[in-house]
Symmetry: D2
Subunit: 340 residues, 4 copies
Amino acid sequence: MSKWMQEWSTETVAPHDLKLAERPVPEAGEHDIIVRTLAVSLNYRDKLVLETGMGLDLAFPFVPASDMSGVVEAVGKSVTRFRPGDRVISTFAPGWLDGLRPGTGRTPAYETLGGAHPGVLSEYVVLPEGWFVAAPKSLDAAEASTLPCAGLTAWFALVEKGHLRAGDRVVVQGTGGVALFGLQIAKATGAEVIVTSSSREKLDRAFALGADHGINRLEEDWVERVYALTGDRGADHILEIAGGAGLGQSLKAVAPDGRISVIGVLEGFEVSGPVGPLLLKSPVVQGISVGHRRALEDLVGAVDRLGLKPVIDMRYKFTEVPEALAHLDRGPFGKVVIEF
Amino acid sequence: MSKWMQEWSTETVAPHDLKLAERPVPEAGEHDIIVRTLAVSLNYRDKLVLETGMGLDLAFPFVPASDMSGVVEAVGKSVTRFRPGDRVISTFAPGWLDGLRPGTGRTPAYETLGGAHPGVLSEYVVLPEGWFVAAPKSLDAAEASTLPCAGLTAWFALVEKGHLRAGDRVVVQGTGGVALFGLQIAKATGAEVIVTSSSREKLDRAFALGADHGINRLEEDWVERVYALTGDRGADHILEIAGGAGLGQSLKAVAPDGRISVIGVLEGFEVSGPVGPLLLKSPVVQGISVGHRRALEDLVGAVDRLGLKPVIDMRYKFTEVPEALAHLDRGPFGKVVIEF
Amino acid sequence: MSKWMQEWSTETVAPHDLKLAERPVPEAGEHDIIVRTLAVSLNYRDKLVLETGMGLDLAFPFVPASDMSGVVEAVGKSVTRFRPGDRVISTFAPGWLDGLRPGTGRTPAYETLGGAHPGVLSEYVVLPEGWFVAAPKSLDAAEASTLPCAGLTAWFALVEKGHLRAGDRVVVQGTGGVALFGLQIAKATGAEVIVTSSSREKLDRAFALGADHGINRLEEDWVERVYALTGDRGADHILEIAGGAGLGQSLKAVAPDGRISVIGVLEGFEVSGPVGPLLLKSPVVQGISVGHRRALEDLVGAVDRLGLKPVIDMRYKFTEVPEALAHLDRGPFGKVVIEF
Amino acid sequence: MSKWMQEWSTETVAPHDLKLAERPVPEAGEHDIIVRTLAVSLNYRDKLVLETGMGLDLAFPFVPASDMSGVVEAVGKSVTRFRPGDRVISTFAPGWLDGLRPGTGRTPAYETLGGAHPGVLSEYVVLPEGWFVAAPKSLDAAEASTLPCAGLTAWFALVEKGHLRAGDRVVVQGTGGVALFGLQIAKATGAEVIVTSSSREKLDRAFALGADHGINRLEEDWVERVYALTGDRGADHILEIAGGAGLGQSLKAVAPDGRISVIGVLEGFEVSGPVGPLLLKSPVVQGISVGHRRALEDLVGAVDRLGLKPVIDMRYKFTEVPEALAHLDRGPFGKVVIEF
């Protein structure tokens, strides 16, 4: 095993400070595993952390990014879940194993990799075995790296919390990483999927992935179109990704007793909407912030059994992290991944 | 049986037009029952309908009010659920028997008595048998009349949808009709109840009803106080009755994986709040608009078994309807009821 | 509209008494619709009722069968849900619209067509409009007639009660009508489906319908095979159709926190099984007896959106009812239908 | 801190081999806490393990018992959840933190203290911090020791899985430890509680604890009595503790859409019952085997907020373990506890 490794890190909250440097591979504690990184999937959140710190108590030098896949190189003496050679993926919020989320009302938990915990843009990652899950057998390393945050968020919203049913009508807003996972998972569950976008070209690509309907938000009122597509019933489940006043539109478009999953970045806005449809249709509005380890294991199993292939807009090399981060600003179709 | 009856009605959307007049008791159809009214419970909504019409397609002369208790005088030839002499209460939204609510995403159902359907401020009410539920045995007529809207709303939020558990911490906002039912139902379920109010005197009365804690919103920050009372965990369930930007405070006060039931009148405001706690605590936010007939039957059973006594702030005579409506503006402690 | 109609009926509980006779088409009441029958789907239960009465209080002449599709010929004056020309299917248990089932602990409800209510093996059926649901647009009349009992039972078990998820492992026992609906619905929901049968030929046909795995119960221990197929985890959901001591095998094969839906005829046996796995794996064991009207409407919507085609083993003519009933004894692969 | 401690252990599966001996207090690992035992609550299961081994792979010398309360004496260097002086209780199945239970379909998890893991009949217990929960503030040590198995089983059945509601009718079979917790928790949740027993004297004591109704099983048919007490509706939830063919009676007594929680020892019998009510009433039958750590924390909170006091039939001294075990055979009313 290599004793030295390359790693992207920064000394300040400022994206241009991000530098590639050589550091020693950390020692593995009793319960740790040493994972050789094969791919890292970037989220827009990673960019926000680099640019703003997001109010987190970061330790410097700070290594960004939370989602990786790799191969176990060595294990601590008390490790039981993995062996060298196993392919693994990271978990986004390591302390949340199953059931209710940690944290309090006053101080919600936001203990994630690439945030309160160290990040993964590094040739080796040395962390407790409990922070990893076996990678799916059917995906390559880059694809597998997209599951811990984007994939799990969509799964947690639609399946774990949303109890999506065959025949349900689902609206997916946009064509980013979570949205396309939402499209694919909803289709695999037998739902009818309506994708909204402001790009005709992206809608065409969404159709190719199985979308039943596409709505160009620049050309038509998406709520009216949802009524038309559903015989006025509205959508059973809406992945509300836009945030802000968009919630008001979703409250209009949702079916009675339907569900709106609010997903999005954590900065800069309020949600708001009219109280009338909230009362008279009684939908569940629930914020979704990734999910727990058991659900990630469920997703991995489903990915293998369903042959679900994550959508990667572009694969970058380990040396191209700045270019990959810049790509995030251009609204990728699916995920942006660094391959090692 | 009397052939003529006294009835309050109006020819226009204007509260001062409300007049007491004599009309013939309607004929009972095959599935109808004729109910002699014993009490009518007023809701603030009744006042809004009289003052604004609330956008409803009212039939004139319009008889207001939705919630009544009475005794069955006669039954149509196909009636099977009731017999003369039975004591009954009305249902608020007669078409909703159980399970999912009627209506569509475009046009939510709001087919209620004293709205799209005729009201009950009348000595006799003649309506289909399916629109009534057996009255609780343990309540007098005035108390029983408070269940169909205010009682059921609190029950539906806390029990039917909220799955309230013994030991949960519940915040009830205010001391109106729904709020006090919420207090009583939550206490009966073994919850710890925190009442907020802007009146010290009303908080004292809430303590007398079993409230564990009272927060005077004029004197302290209720969110901070909820943190203090719950060891920072926050409230498991909040009956959000204030509406508007109040949702933002509730999002701060709620525990991770908690629940906010939004209850309130339907006019004049939006709900809004910060997206951070909505995402990171992932509470369920659900609008509640009364509930279905089966849940009202459950509530009636629970009232009898638990000895729960609705709180009536003032009982008025049938001739005092204008005074009773005026009372609604002064923020009653519990319900305002007309006795016949 | 024809004034006379052909109808199969019997004067006694004895299948050989079943005779085709001519009777006048009944008058339609205010809330009734007159439906011209296009197809009737037979269930094994229909045979049991004819042979044993099943303890039901049958009215003679008794017309058997519960599941039909047809076209509305005329409607009573108060009918609002249907118009002449609409294609409809019957509901199995007409009094159960949504939510909790009717009946009591002492006397469970079993008010079904072709039982406590009249049956449908008749050229015309005249019943309340609330007892019908709009037929799916994508099925022919024979296919549509299979939904009210067999289709809904599988849907209610897997989707409405079972909250089946993409990636779940489902065991379907046998290849009868409910089982094949179970197979198709589970596949449409993204589940991995394991079919058990004692016939290699039927397993081959199940594979053609999408089954992922087939287990020949004559050739191998199906529980061991389920362990092998699931990496020892067991099945997330088992449609337990065999009944009797079969429950014991299902308790062994089920995954921790899994679900066993017990489906079957109502006569002649007990269920039994070892208490160990019931305690230590804590599965939900739930009997399923068809389902409510709202779930049938959900199924109809899902059938149209998913393109799900019910499996009909054989179509018989209206004059061939005795042959069709005899077919039921031979274990059909899917449904046996009478076309009018 | 003491270096030596007294401990009950056995070298063989044979209850008469149980002996008190002196052993060194184990060293605490990095994540361990050293807890000085104040009380141990015995379960009938402890006796079965001593007498039969229950098929478990026990390590000898084997220390029995799973449920204890104590005070933290010292903590390992990585411990974060507890400090010296904290009062704690043990968890029954330490690997199950929240959500789904561990184990597989083939090999259900039964990794409990006093079984696959060491027991607690010892002056000091040294185990990982994650295996403990903060003790309730409102109970003495003996009372607190009854929560991890008996208390949590009743809570998990009624509240966590059963979603018990105010006004529900609950049947509790017998007056053992789980049953009396069931009675108390159900009453605290606003349920109406029916206790069955074969002892008039025990029924009187159950009434004193709040039971609404008592049925002497030697004197009357308890199912008929449940029908009579519930207006034929049946019980919403039955804590089925007897096991075996008792399930058949519970299937008769349960309400439509009700719930039967099967609780009991793991040896020696099957459950069985008629398929008719299982299908036509569609109750959930679910085995319950204690519960997870998060639910134990919920129970602790509820105990403190509700002032719930566990029922201890007899308190024995540390030297009287054989007498206490013998007491278990006589059917205690509530729990049997060893005080240190």
